[in-house]
Structure formats: structure tokens, C-alpha cells
């Protein structure tokens, strides 16, 4: 009985620890993009993983940073231990204390202070600053492992070597270093994992166009993590397990050998292995340095700041090839984060792609500049006039922004679960669908639904109207299954909910995966959102930025991007060239003018109204 309980307990622990990883591994072989539907076994994500230059680039950066920072931190940390062992007690106590602080300190504090330091010293944020940051936070992990061993080593070990005729350096290398060996390896392994693991510090110290895996994946979250990432994570997991098994084997073998010949052989083997590992590490570092472009100098560049996963990566390469302008490409995961970076230093990027309401704010705060449309003939020629007209809501004279993607917000519903025709937002308040409704977890989108239902403007700043909308949403809460962002896709595809408030781009994707799903923009009207290219006020490369924007407006490029992102393109010429007839004529992707006419774009409401919205949003979320 007791035995069985023990086994069950053990099994529970194992499940608790490894089930998440198992789920991820399974999903990496799922041919459907959904996280809930099994579409059959496939290797395609692994194949496309190795074709995705963004991921490979981030992977290379991650490994390179981890490797170099580990080597540097191990070297510095070990020498620090040597120095500390020669210190008197108060000095040691001070040093151990000081070296622990970066480890205990919140990452966010370390990250921000490093960022401020780099700014103050006028360092260009990128590979070098991230590397320095990683070395900084890795040193304590080396100390943590090496120092206790160093402390336990009797000083006579070193003195004995001196006594036997070794010079101080030789005595350290032959007598002390081998004793420290295992703890140095342990320390560097820990540092290596910490470096790969780090997100926050990297995020604050990285600059434009530089990403590690963690920052890249984070930038993607907004629009859903790609299955390629599952594949990559699976490979990383497999690599870690292999390393663990190997190191265990080596350790077991390095026990007391039985025969002297075995011992010698093993010695030779270990040495060859060590030499091979060192050579490989060296090669990776050198190649990486070249690849990482550490030595590349400033030239003909354009700094692009776009939303995560919001371009076909091959378009960037094509742009570089055709124009000879080097693209430094960086991604943000929300308009607010982009705004924060820009407010700090708007000259860090030349061309950005914010959303409507953010553009009106950037204009108000003088962070973007008027464009020279004569330099961008394609922007005038191929972008439909109706989109410029909609854009006037946030860019009154059409001076600042060239539309890039757009879409509507509507209701995605499952025709098998909803019998009646959906025409009004009211259906989201129908008790019949209690527990079957998904709402967007976002202030403006959520309040827009209620404001429109009540017949008000989606940009209303009238407190009475907003209060009424908020009250409606509170009364709706019991019916809502969940407030979600991108899980709406999976849940709808997996038939887990009957209806969801969703963006049209997502709706296209869902309808393709699950033919029972239909999308409608309710009669009361809705939000039409537009993301558009703008040039920052203090852009260093304004001309290149306009070359970029013009390039994005070329029909073949716009088509490529449309096929990659699936959000509606305002490029009329590109719309006509869409091969798939169903999509070309899709009312979801390209609704007729009447739908657009009853939709509004969001504008920036000003700080006071922003606060009012936030206050009501808090009430809605807490249900009171």
C-alpha cells in the first residue's frame, strides 16, 4: 500500500515537471497550427525552422552570446576566486557580498541600470552591450560554484607544488586548477544556461535589429507563437538532455580506474575530447563574430521598427539586394512598448509601423515627421484612396502615414453552434450562449463593442457613455468564457467556444482551419484598424526610410507580405493579383465599402480620457 502511494506520488511529480515539455514536443510534430487540434504527424516545422532566417539568426545570437559570455565570466570569475583566496577576511566578506548582489537583484533593475549606463557612455546598443550585460550577470554564477571549492582547498596544495619546484603559475595550473575543474565546469554550465535563459536584461540592453531567442519569441507572442518555435524548443531540450547524459557518463568513467592502461587511455581520450571541444568553441566564436557583424561598420542603412512577425522575411533580403541598403530590423510587441522606446530616443529608428490611434498620438507629440510623397510614387499609385480616407481620422491631411495593413473587428462564430443569423453585437449578451463567448482582453477593443452596441462612437470621451458601456460589459461577464488575446484562434478552431470577438486577419486564418467558422461585422458598426508606415522625427536616414516605404507599396512585395501575414492589404494592385480566388473575393479580407463605411478607426483620446478608460477597464475586469 505504502509502496503504491510512493509510486503514485513519484509519478505525479514527474508528470508535473515533464508534462508541459511533452505537450510542446507533441505540438512540434502537429501539422495543424492549432494548439488544440491534432492535424497529423509532420516534420515540416523542423524543415521550415532551418529555412527561417529570423529564428536561425536569433539562435546564432543566443548561442554566441551564451558561449562568449560564459567563457569570459568563467575566466574572470575563476581569477576573482584566486584573488579572494589571497585576501583577508573582511575583504573576502565584502567581495562575496558584492558579487552576490547582481544575482539576488531583480533582473529588471539590473537591466535598466545597465541600459542607463550604456546610454550614458554613448555605447551603441546591440551585440556588444548584450554581451557585456551577460558577462556581468554570469560572473556571480561562476563565483557561486568555484568559490566554495576554492575556500575548501587547503592552501598547502598550492604551496606543495611550489615546494616541489613549480613556478607560481605552473603551481596554479597543475595543482589548483585541476582541483577546481569540476566546479569551474559546473559554474560555466550554470552561466551558459542563465545566459540562454535571460530575457529581461537582454531586452533592455539590446538595440535595434538584434534579437536573441527569448526576445524574438517574446516579440512574436502578440501574434501567436509559431510551431517552428516548438520545434526549436524541442531541439534545445534534446540538446540539454544529451549534454546531461554525456556529462554523467564522463563523470562515471573518471572514477578510480582498475588498470593503469585503462587509465592512460582514458587520459588520452579526455584530452582529445577537451581539445576538440575547445576547437569547436573557438570556431563557433570566430564564425559568430564574423556572422554577428561585430566588425561591420556603419554604412548605408535603414533602421526599421515593425510589429512582431509582421513581414515576409524574404522581403527584407530582397530589399537589401535590390537597393544595397542594409536593413537593421527590430520588432516590438505592442504599440505602447514601441511608444516608450521612441519617447526615449526617436532617432534610434528611421521607419516605424504603428497603429492608427498611436499615430495620432505620435503626431500630437511631434515624434514623427511629414512624408515626401513625391519620393514614394508607389505609395500614391497602388494604395487605395478609400484607405487614405479612413486614415484621415488619425492623420488628417494624409501627411504622415502610408497604410500597410488593415482589418476590421467582428464576431467569429461557429455555424454549427449558432443557429440564428448573426447581425448585431447583442448576441454577445444572449444568455443562451453563456460560457460560449470569448472577448478580447484589450481596453479599446472591448469597450468599442459595448459603445457600438449602445450606438455611441468607438472614440467616445463622454463619461456617461463610457460608464454605460462599462456597465453593459460588467453585466455580460457571467456569460463570458474568457477574456483572451490569441487563444481565441485555438479555441474557435477547436470548437471550444461558439463565438469570439476577433480581428479579421485572425478570422481568415481560423476559417481556413475550420470551415464551420464564419465572420461578421455587426450592423451597429465596428472598428477598422489601420497600421501604417511612418518616419520618425529625428530619423538619421529619412531618404532610405522612404525608399523602404515605397518598396513596401510595390504590388509584388505587398502580395508577398499579404500571403505571409494574411491581414488585409490596402494595396489595390496586390489585391487583384491574389491567386486564391476564394481569398481574393473573401468578404472577410476585403469587405465591401458599406462595411467600411459603418466602421470607425481609433484615435488617441488624450491622457485624461485614457485614464478614464483604464479606470472603467479595471472595474470591468474585477466585475464590480
Amino acid at each position: 500500500m505504502r509502496k503504491t502511494l510512493e509510486k503514485i506520488y513519484m509519478a505525479l511529480i514527474l508528470i508535473f515537471m515533464y508534462l508541459p515539455i511533452a505537450v510542446m514536443i507533441v505540438l512540434s510534430f502537429n501539422s495543424s497550427k492549432s494548439r488544440t487540434v491534432w492535424g497529423g504527424f509532420t516534420f515540416k516545422w523542423y524543415v521550415s525552422l532551418f529555412q527561417d532566417s529570423t529564428i536561425l539568426n536569433a539562435l546564432a545570437n543566443t548561442l554566441l552570446i551564451a558561449l562568449i559570455s560564459t567563457l569570459a565570466a568563467t575566466f574572470i570569475g575563476t581569477l576573482t576566486c584566486v584573488a579572494m583566496s589571497g585576501m583577508k577576511r573582511p575583504g573576502r566578506a565584502f567581495f562575496t557580498g558584492v558579487s552576490n548582489i547582481p544575482m539576488i537583484n531583480a533582473d529588471i533593475v539590473t537591466g535598466i541600470s545597465l541600459m542607463l549606463l550604456f546610454r550614458a557612455l554613448h555605447f551603441d546598443q546591440g551585440f556588444a552591450t548584450v554581451l557585456l550585460a551577460h558577462i556581468t550577470f554570469n560572473i556571480p554564477y561562476v563565483l557561486l560554484n568555484v568559490w566554495p571549492k576554492m575556500k575548501s582547498l587547503s592552501p598547502s596544495t598550492y604551496e606543495a607544488a611550489l615546494d616541489l619546484g613549480a613556478s607560481p603559475f605552473l603551481a596554479f595550473r597543475k595543482a589548483v586548477l585541476p582541483e577546481l575543474g569540476p566546479s569551474i565546469v559546473a559554474g560555466s554550465l550554470m552561466a551558459f544556461t542563465m545566459s540562454i535563459d535571460d530575457f529581461i536584461i537582454t531586452y533592455f540592453t539590446k538595440g535595434a535589429g538584434f534579437d536573441t531567442l527569448s526576445t524574438m519569441i517574446y516579440a512574436q507572442v502578440k501574434r501567436g507563437v509559431h510551431p517552428e518555435i516548438y520545434a526549436l524548443s524541442t531541439l534545445l531540450f534534446a540538446a540539454v538532455v544529451t549534454v546531461l547524459l554525456l556529462s554523467g557518463k564522463v563523470r562515471r568513467r573518471s572514477g578510480v580506474p582498475k588498470k593503469s592502461s585503462d587509465y592512460q587511455k582514458q587520459r588520452v581520450k579526455t584530452k582529445i575530447l577537451a581539445a576538440a571541444a575547445a576547437a569547436a568553441a573557438g570556431a563557433i566564436v570566430v564564425l559568430g563574430l564574423l556572422y554577428g557583424g561585430v566588425f561591420s561598420d556603419a554604412g548605408n542603412k535603414v533602421y526599421v521598427y515593425n510589429a512582431g512577425d509582421y513581414i515576409d522575411p524574404s522581403v527584407i533580403t530582397q530589399f537589401e539586394e535590390e537597393t544595397g541598403i542594409e536593413v537593421v530590423y527590430d520588432e516590438f510587441d505592442s504599440n505602447e512598448l514601441m511608444y516608450a522606446k521612441l519617447a526615449q530616443d526617436d532617432s534610434a529608428y528611421d521607419v516605424i509601423c504603428p497603429s492608427d490611434y498611436m499615430i495620432s498620438r505620435l503626431i500630437q507629440e511631434d515624434l514623427i515627421q511629414p512624408l515626401d510623397f513625391d519620393a514614394m510614387p508607389d505609395a500614391t499609385q497602388y494604395i487605395g484612396q478609400q484607405y487614405y480616407k479612413s486614415a484621415q481620422a488619425f492623420d488628417p491631411g494624409n501627411q504622415y502615414a502610408v497604410p500597410y495593413c488593415w482589418g476590421t473587428v467582428g464576431i467569429l462564430y461557429n455555424t454549427k453552434m449558432v443557429d440564428e443569423p448573426v447581425t448585431s453585437w447583442d448576441i454577445l449578451w444572449d444568455p443562451k450562449y453563456s460560457g460560449q463567448i470569448l472577448m478580447q482582453d484589450s481596453i479599446r477593443d472591448c469597450l468599442m463593442v459595448a459603445l457600438k452596441k449602445d450606438g455611441f462612437s468607438a472614440n467616445s470621451t463622454d463619461e456617461a457613455q463610457v460608464a454605460q458601456a462599462a456597465q453593459d460589459l460588467i453585466s455580460q461577464r457571467p456569460l463570458v468564457q474568457a477574456y483572451v488575446i490569441d487563444q481565441a484562434r485555438d479555441k474557435m478552431i477547436g470548437n471550444e467556444a461558439a463565438m469570439a470577438v476577433i480581428y479579421s486577419g485572425e478570422a481568415i486564418y481560423c476559417a481556413r482551419e475550420n470551415p464551420d467558422l464564419a465572420y461578421v461585422v455587426p450592423d451597429e458598426g465596428s472598428n477598422v484598424w489601420i497600421d501604417a508606415w511612418c518616419v520618425t522625427k529625428d530619423a538619421k536616414n529619412k531618404e532610405n526610410a522612404q525608399v523602404w516605404i515605397n518598396f513596401m507599396c510595390r504590388p509584388d512585395i505587398a502580395l508577398k507580405n499579404f500571403e505571409y501575414i494574411t491581414y488585409s492589404t490596402p494595396n489595390v494592385a496586390a489585391q487583384e493579383e491574389i491567386e486564391d480566388e476564394q481569398i481574393r473575393n473573401s468578404p472577410i479580407a476585403f469587405p465591401d465599402q458599406s462595411v467600411l463605411d459603418r466602421c470607425e478607426t481609433f484615435v488617441y483620446l488624450g491622457e485624461k480620457a485614457d485614464r478614464m478608460y483604464s479606470d472603467y477597464w479595471k472595474k470591468i475586469k474585477s466585475g464590480s
Binding site: S154, E159, A160, E179, V256, P257
Partner: protein
């Protein structure tokens, strides 16, 4: 007279303002087993480390074979050390440990192999070449440490309390082993210990130290039989140490009783210290001795009985092969040759040389 090998010339050393060695001078001869003996903190290990080159004296010189080596690095000195905690290299096997010094000197492999075999034979551990140090007992590890040192053919072997971590039986075995080794190798051993019995057993020459000063040096017999001061008397062996008055040449007053002695020249009616070894105190029938007493405690020690006798208000420690019951009334008798009279430090300076913790002494 043997040839002088090492000379410490007015050496002083202090740490953090605390004086460890104060103007210490000593001479060590070739082919001698010299022991630095003293309680912990007496400066004996510091002296050894100065000879080994691990510490530099603040002032003074170290002369080795006629050459000033005060500033010479330890790896350049013709001597080797056996450390207290063995200090074997745990990542190397026994053979590699022993070969360490020879490899650094780039000796040919065949020479090294011969040396390893020879050294292991010398310390009675043949066939241990490929064992790892951690698989050996403490005594075996210490022998390897010795083997590792002697293959370098040093002129001097420094041993820093090498038997301190061993159990009693092992310690006694190793004592004989060390004497044998010293005789076979014909080199100088400088041995540091706080164990007076170890010092008496092995040494040709003992240097007794306390608080950075040499208290006395000489052969084990000299040190034991004729301690020059109360500290040495108390530190070496068991003793009855008392304050006394030197009445005149050949007569000393101990506990208000006059005892004939052989010492001369301390001056008339001068305060002195006297030491009488427990085995030199004779117990005779009441009326036949010099001072009456009563047996207050008896312990059987194997070879002899250890007694405490209350006499003249002092608790005498007595070793005798005869048994006395507790309460037996006896007389104490001491042969004049067995009373060791010593100067009592009078001035402040002299006082510093004497031990800090005063031995149990009665008022005269």
C-alpha cells in the same frame, strides 16, 4: 663538530602588529633530526615556513649552506616540505604525485620511474603507483607525501606536524619510520610538533619555543633533565614545579623545608624556581625522609602508579612502582642530584619570556 647547514640570523616576524617571532637566531647542522617544539602560537610553524620560503621575515636573514636565501622563492630552494594535512594532489594518482617535482625538473621518464619505485619501497608502499590518494588511509597518505618530497633529494626535509592527524598507534609506528628514513637518507630533518613525547623520541636536537622566543635548546636528555626555566620544565614531561628560595650554594628551601642540592651560584636567599620530576620523588616511611605527607590519590598506569601526595601544603605528583593505599602516612625524600634549580625571571622583560599560564606554584 657537524657542519652548519641553516642559520637564522636575528629573524623577526609579525602579523597585523602581533609579534610572532622576536629576534630569533638559531643554527641547524647537517644530518640532524631537529625538532621545533612548543605550544600552538609559539612561532614554530612560522619559523619552518620562513625556512621553506613561504613567509618572508620582516627583519633578519636566512642562511642556507653559506648562502643568503632570505629572498629566494620556495620553488628555488633545495629543501622540501611534508605538510600537516599531506596536501596531496587529489586529481593525480600516487605515481603522478611522486613524479610531480621530477617532471617539473624535466627528468627522463626512466629516471622518474626508478625514483617512484625507490621512494615507494622506502615508505613501504610498493605497488601503490596507480592508486588515487583518496583511496588511502591517513598514514599511507602521509607516507606518499614523504615519498613525494624525498624523491627530489633535498638537503633538508621540513615536516610540519606530519603525524598530527594520525591515531596513536599509527603515530608511534610512523615515529620509528621517520627515524629509520632519516638514517637511511642521511639528510637533515626539521620537525615541528607540539607533542613533547614525539620530540623526545625522535630528535637529535630539540628547540623549545614559546611566544616567539627560544626557551631552551639541546639534546632530549638535556631538555628533560635540566630544564632551564619553569616553562620548559612544565612543558616537557610531568613535573613538580615550585617556587623556592636559594638559601646558599648547595641548599634550597622548598615549602619551608631545606633540601640539599648540587646547584651553586644563584646567590644567598634568592627567589628561584625548582623542578622535581615525579619519578625522582622517593616515598619512605614516616620519620625517614625530609618532609611528612599523606597519599591522597592513586592511579594505576601500567608500568607504575601515579600518586598524589599532600606534603608541606603542596600536592606532589609521584611516580612509583610500589603501591600505597590512599591515606598512608609517608615521608618525601629527594636526592640532591634530582632537584633542578632555575632562575626566576625578575624583570618585566624576562617575565615575557616565561610562560603566560603560570604553572601551579605555591607561595614559599
Amino acid at each position: 663538530m657537524k657542519k652548519e647547514l641553516i642559520r637564522l640570523d636575528h629573524v623577526s616576524k609579525s602579523y597585523d602588529g602581533q609579534m610572532i617571532l622576536d629576534d630569533l637566531s638559531l643554527v641547524i647542522h647537517e644530518n640532524e633530526f631537529v625538532t621545533l617544539l612548543g605550544p600552538s602560537g609559539c612561532g614554530k610553524t612560522t619559523t619552518l615556513r620562513i625556512i621553506g620560503g613561504f613567509e618572508k621575515p620582516d627583519t633578519g636573514k636566512v642562511i642556507f649552506d653559506g648562502e643568503d636565501i632570505t629572498d629566494l622563492a620556495p620553488n628555488k630552494r633545495q629543501l622540501n616540505t611534508v605538510f600537516q594535512k599531506y596536501a596531496l594532489f587529489t586529481h593525480m594518482d600516487v605515481g603522478e604525485n611522486i613524479a610531480f617535482g621530477l617532471k617539473i625538473k624535466n627528468k627522463p621518464q626512466s629516471y622518474i620511474d626508478d625514483k617512484i619505485r625507490y621512494a615507494l619501497k622506502l615508505v613501504n608502499l610498493e605497488g601503490f603507483e596507480h592508486r588515487m590518494p583518496e583511496s588511502l588511509s591517513g598514514g599511507q597518505q602521509q607516507r606518499i607525501a614523504i615519498a613525494r618530497a624525498i624523491v627530489n633529494e633535498p638537503k633538508v626535509l621540513l615536516l610540519d606536524e606530519p603525524l598530527g592527524a594520525l591515531d596513536l598507534k599509527m603515530r608511534q609506528d610512523m615515529q620509528y619510520e621517520l627515524i629509520r628514513l632519516k638514517n637511511e637518507l642521511g639528510i637533515t630533518f626539521i620537525y615541528v610538533t607540539h607533542d613533547q613525547e614525539e620530540a623526545l623520541t625522535m630528535s637529535d636536537h630539540i628547540i623549545v619555543m614559546n611566544q616567539g622566543y627560544i626557551q631552551q635548546e639541546g639534546s632530549p636528555e638535556d631538555i628533560y633533565n635540566e630544564p632551564e626555566n619553569a616553562f620548559v620544565a612544565d612543558f616537557i614531561g610531568d613535573s613538580n614545579l615550585m617556587k623556592a628560595t636559594f638559601v646558599r650554594d648547595g641548599l634550597v628551601r622548598i615549602l619551608d623545608t631545606d633540601f640539599p642540592c648540587v646547584d651553586k651560584g644563584f646567590g644567598d636567599m634568592k627567589p628561584v624556581d625548582v623542578v622535581i620530576r615525579p619519578e625522582d620523588v622517593e616515598l619512605v616511611s614516616r620519620g625517614q625522609g625530609q618532609m611528612p605527607g599523606v597519599v591522597s590519590h592513586v592511579i594505576f598506569k601500567g608500568v607504575h602508579y601515579e600518586l598524589e601526595v599532600q606534603a608541606g601544603g603542596f600536592e606532589w605528583l609521584v611516580h612509583t612502582t610500589k603501591f600505597f593505599e590512599v591515606g598512608t602516612e609517608v615521608d618525601i625524600r629527594v636526592d640532591p642530584f634530582n632537584i633542578q634549580v632555575m632562575n626566576r625571571p625578575a624583570s618585566e622583560d624576562e617575565e615575557a619570556i616565561s610562560p603566560e599560564d603560570e604553572p601551579p606554584v605555591l607561595q614559599e
